[in-house]
């Protein structure tokens, strides 16, 4: 009687139909406006209840003159504000260091240029005995700002 009927294939087929049905139904439900409205209202209700609990706990701790979590978190926020100002200052210092480096470089170029200008042009005749002090003095290079990585 059952010969020729593939029970396993039928089960598979039934399974596929069920899964497709589930997929279509859930997609329709979750995507509907009424689902969004209902979940939003439920969320509002649950959150207002939780907020009330939170307020009550806060008032209780206040009455005992205990600090609440939010009090400690406020201090943490103030520390972040100080850190933020330090970060601003670090950025400004970076900019200043960059400017100083550029100035130092420009100064060095200027000194080198003026030394070249001050040096007498090479002459074919015998060198003169008298030389100016400035042309013989060793030129001290301006220090170049070097950024050192902190680890």
């Amino acid at each position: 009687m059952t010969e020729g009927i593939d029970l396993e294939a039928m089960t598979r087929q039934w399974q596929e139909i069920m899964m497709d049905g589930w997929s279509k139904a859930t997609k329709q439900v979750v995507g509907s406006d009424s689902f969004a409205a209902a979940s939003s209202s439920y969320m509002d209700w649950a959150l207002s209840w939780q907020k009330q609990m939170r307020n009550n706990t806060g008032q209780f701790l206040d009455s005992l003159e205990f600090p609440k979590r939010s009090d400690v978190a406020r201090i943490s926020k103030q520390i972040s504000a100080v850190e933020l100002r330090i970060a601003d200052m670090e950025d400004r210092m970076d900019k200043m260091a960059g400017l100083l480096g550029a100035m130092s470089h420009a100064m060095q170029k200027l000194v080198e240029h003026s030394v070249q200008q001050a040096q007498p042009a090479p002459q074919a005749s015998a060198p003169t005995e008298v030389a100016t002090e400035s042309s013989q003095a060793p030129v001290k290079k301006a220090p170049v700002a070097r950024k050192k990585a902190k680890v």
Binding site: A36, S40, K51, S80, E90, A149
Partner: protein, 349 residues
């Protein structure tokens, strides 16, 4: 023969394993690439990924992940890791791990994340690598934060890469219909009630794919004997279920200003009294989006008609998470992205 196979599949030990897997009682190790901690601030950690070979490229890459999940998705398993791929391609890779914020962090807002945490991380990486600039790579919400940072502090950013990052929060996808509705899902109410956006509140995302759940379970049951498949499934499942709480101030500000009012793309977002203008970003920008991404659909990523001047785009054949973990992305997307980093490197090491 077929019936024999079915009987084999229904063996008690197999069914027991299936139960263990779906109830989360089997764990695998994820995020195993070798790394060193170079900076730590409370819960925030900055990691440098180690390589046998010295990096070939001078400019380091800093990865910024979302605040919703753990960043281990970028380094899921050997062979399925963006970080491993980039390191092997010769890049010097760093990652900012936000840790697990708790109620003490509830007042941290977007400005703290952008102007303090990311700014500090960028400075530390530049100091550590002894370079003036770096490549910034942001994933999902981390991409939003990276774009905000680049707009406000462009000096140290050589290039910006936005991976599955929403910038224009207008789409017909369900998440955006819910998130942008003016009278529903008010994020500020969550924060008033909890101080934080609790980790479990992000489980709601699973509703977006609930229609596919039976097919996923069926596929898992059929492939339970495939060791590689099972390991991949467990790694993904472990990561998906590892949501973290988000500081309330940041959550409320992000949902309200970015989702509801779409201020980021419209240039109306202000952080610390400064306007975030994405069109002011001059550095090269790379946008990577997934064609079938239901969380960050391509139209939200500004892959076309975005505010950037110098932009390259990659539209991958994958979903949101597939961008970083699918073998297809690792074969087709990341080699291209890696070459783009190399092209914009400005000299080898």
């Amino acid at each position: 023969m077929k019936s024999k196979e079915t009987v084999m599949k229904l063996k008690p030990e197999r069914v027991a394993l299936f139960n263990k897997v779906v109830t989360g009682n089997v764990q695998v190790e994820i995020g195993t690439s070798r790394r060193e901690l170079i900076y730590e601030r409370d819960r925030l950690c900055l990691y440098h990924y180690l390589s046998e070979q010295p990096a070939r490229y001078k400019t380091p890459i800093l990865l910024i992940y979302s605040l919703v999940n753990r960043p281990s998705v970028l380094d899921l398993q050997p062979g399925r890791s963006v970080i491993e791929h980039l390191v092997q391609a010769g890049h010097d890779v760093y990652m900012l791990d936000w840790g697990r914020p708790d109620p003490l962090d509830q007042h941290n807002d977007l400005n703290d994340y952008v102007s303090l945490f990311i700014r500090t991380a960028v400075r530390k990486v530049c100091e550590f690598a002894e370079v003036p600039q770096l490549h910034l790579l942001g994933y999902c919400m981390g991409g939003c934060l990276s774009a905000m940072y680049t707009a406000l502090y462009p000096e140290k950013v050589k290039t910006l890469t936005l991976l599955g990052t929403p910038l224009n929060f207008r789409s017909e996808q369900l998440l955006y219909k819910w998130g942008t509705h003016p009278d529903r899902f008010d994020s500020r109410k969550i924060v008033e009630a909890w101080g934080m956006a609790p980790a479990w509140s992000f489980d709601g995302y699973s509703l977006l794919t609930v229609d596919k759940k039976p097919k996923v379970m069926q596929h898992l049951f059929d492939n339970l004997d495939d060791k590689e498949f099972l390991e991949n499934y467990l790694a993904m499942d472990q990561w998906v279920n590892d949501n973290v709480s988000m500081p309330g101030a940041c959550y409320a500000e992000f949902c309200h200003t970015c989702f509801k009012e779409n201020r980021l793309i419209e240039g109306r977002l202000e952080l610390g009294g400064r306007r975030v203008d994405l069109s002011s970003i001059e550095c090269p920008v790379q946008i990577i989006a997934g064609k079938s991404d239901h969380l960050v659909p391509p139209e939200t990523t500004c892959i076309e008609n975005g505010p950037f001047r110098n932009v390259s785009a990659i539209l991958a054949e994958s979903g949101h998470i597939g961008l970083s973990v699918s073998r297809g992305s690792l074969k087709k997307v990341w080699p291209v992205a890696s070459q783009w980093f190399a092209k914009n490197d400005g000299g080898s090491k």
